[in-house]
Subunit: 353 residues, 2 copies
């Protein structure tokens, strides 16, 4: 007889599953300016018993990402808050996902989730549910960072949209964030000159000294035009835009013919009630024949594992470093989100539940 630990454990947990109450964040008011705790309600709900093929997952790490601020405008309220998480499977009626496994999934801001393992993509944010391999000695939280959505955003966004060639110059805004800091390191791996803009001298120092950026500038204190002349003497071939805003218009005016711009986000405007006005980009686009393309990482869902594998390989080879800011407690989700929107962190921010 085959030993089926999954079945055994499921029996052990079967009483638990019936009683599990999940906590979740429900957004009840559209954000006005910065997100506020009073925009949310924490709601408890009883989860249903598992059906065949389903699993019960308990959140270990919740992700906070800039897109969360921007996306919610598209939902009818009240609605469950969206987001990715790393969760531990604590009950399973799915033969492919054993109890004890760690998974990532777009389950939102909630403590427990019942989900079908067969349903690979979720509807709210269209990202894969993945069973994690053994990541030790790395923390499982990396599956929300360089081995997850931000890592794949950096990998595919740079490679597929910017298409940098060896020797070209890449500029990155939001360069100390989870995506930006990763983009710059991939740029160095590909043999490019890498220039970052970030919001504190400390971050800039980290980018230059720890991550190998050729130059990093504090956009709050530098003259961006002068910084570009100084840092990108051959002008800019690829621009990885995380922030939008005036700095992006300035960078585009410093690009080379046929330059490529990957528009990953526009965090500089997310908290604005009305979208801001900046210098038009069209003249630079025409006369330098630039290509500017916005993207969402789920465009590459069918190549998801390629990105994860490559980033894990580079991580193991010591070519990619990461920094993580871990907030503690489910009740601190809003503070963590505020932190990234205010630029308080370097690298990836997660919340340990």
């Amino acid at each position: 007889m085959t030993f089926t630990p999954n079945l055994v454990l499921r029996r052990l947990y079967s009483d638990v599953s019936k009683k599990v109450r999940a906590q979740k964040y429900v957004l009840t008011k559209y954000f006005q300016g910065e997100p506020k705790k009073s925009d949310f309600k924490i709601v408890e709900e009883d989860l249903p018993e598992l059906k065949d093929g389903e699993i019960l997952a308990q959140a270990e790490y919740l992700s906070v990402d800039p897109y969360m601020r921007a996306y919610m405008i598209g939902y009818k309220l009240p609605t469950d808050m969206i987001g990715g998480q790393v969760a531990k499977v604590i009950d399973s009626r799915n033969k492919n996902i054993p109890v004890g496994a760690y998974i990532t999934g777009p389950f939102g801001w909630r403590t427990h989730t019942v989900t079908s393992g067969d349903k690979i993509f979720s509807s709210s944010i269209d990202l894969p549910i993945t069973v994690l391999p053994d990541l030790r000695p790395y923390p499982v939280s990396l599956a929300l960072g360089i081995l997850g959505m931000p890592g794949n955003t950096a990998y595919f966004g740079l490679k597929e949209i910017c298409q940098p060639k060896e020797g070209e110059t890449i500029v990155i805004t939001g360069a100390a964030g989870a995506v930006g800091s990763h983009v710059g390191q991939i740029g160095k791996i590909l043999g490019c000159r890498v220039i970052g803009f970030a919001g504190t001298d400390e971050k800039c120092n980290y980018l230059e000294k720890e991550l190998g950026f050729d130059r990093a500038f504090n956009y709050k204190t530098c003259n961006v035009r002068a910084a570009l002349k100084d840092g990108a003497p051959n002008r800019v071939d690829c621009y990885f835009d995380n922030v939008g805003g005036e700095i992006s218009s300035t960078i585009m005016s410093h690009m080379n013919k046929y330059g490529r711009i990957a528009v990953c986000g526009s965090i500089s405007s997310y908290n604005d009630t009305a979208p801001p006005k900046v210098t038009i980009v069209q003249p630079a686009l025409v006369f330098k024949e630039l290509k500017m393309e916005g993207f969402l990482v789920n465009r590459w869902n069918d190549r998801w594992q390629e990105g994860i594998d490559m980033n894990l390989k580079w991580l193991k080879e010591g070519k990619i470093k990461y920094q993580e800011k871990v907030y503690h407690g489910f009740e601190n989700m809003v503070d963590a989100l505020l932190g990234i929107l205010r630029g308080e962190n370097t690298g990836k921010a997660v919340v340990k539940v």
Copy 2:
């Protein structure tokens, strides 16, 4: 013995060529706001005798195009004014270009030109020198319009950058201009829904009634958002942007996922001393994953004849109509340029020398 009319005619003209004085516009001041006559000097110069391979061309029609306002900022002054022209070959020591032939070339604002027929591309604006076929019954001036640079701008810009598919919706700004009016008609040939924005009711009427646009709106009097809802109920797949400015940001916010934007010009800002500020485009680019690409038509110099041939075919089949505004007199170049920058014309503006 073969009859060689070229050689015979060259002898007839050989005395003329030695004495020809050309008139040309020299830009002496950078434009501030609208171009002014006092920004230019009309200068006379003696042309050199023809060397082997060269021709002497006498301008018949000079082109005025919006790009002229924008380009000159890149030149060191004083400099000869750039531009395309249709010229008649009045002397030739090039066996491929007979006397009496009509040619187009980027010779600038000047009455006579000595040029090498072997030099296919000019350095100042990189457009082909072409010997025109017999265009009768059409005027040779079309070689500056639908059978020339604007026609190829419409043809390649729409096909290669916007890549419209049958049934998609195309929006065009500057829709009554030389390029815009042509883009819309190609859009209809390709089976698309075509919406234009132009600056007078008369132009809009012309676009709808004469050129077959599905809808045309006067951007000066309409609410652009409401016009888009009304005219593009399935939202916008392709945007051919001739104007830049706030209207472009509004149109981009009304596009479908994976929409394509061909940025051909930004005439709305050409007369501004400082580039204007408009609502940022990055959020629309990210969340709809739009691709926005600026282009100059000389990118397709190696396919130049393809565009001309296709536009001539459509013209002969009655599928493409054109309108021409002919100014008279070399001394009226600046007025003609002002006219197009002010949106005074429908279709293409040329100056008969």
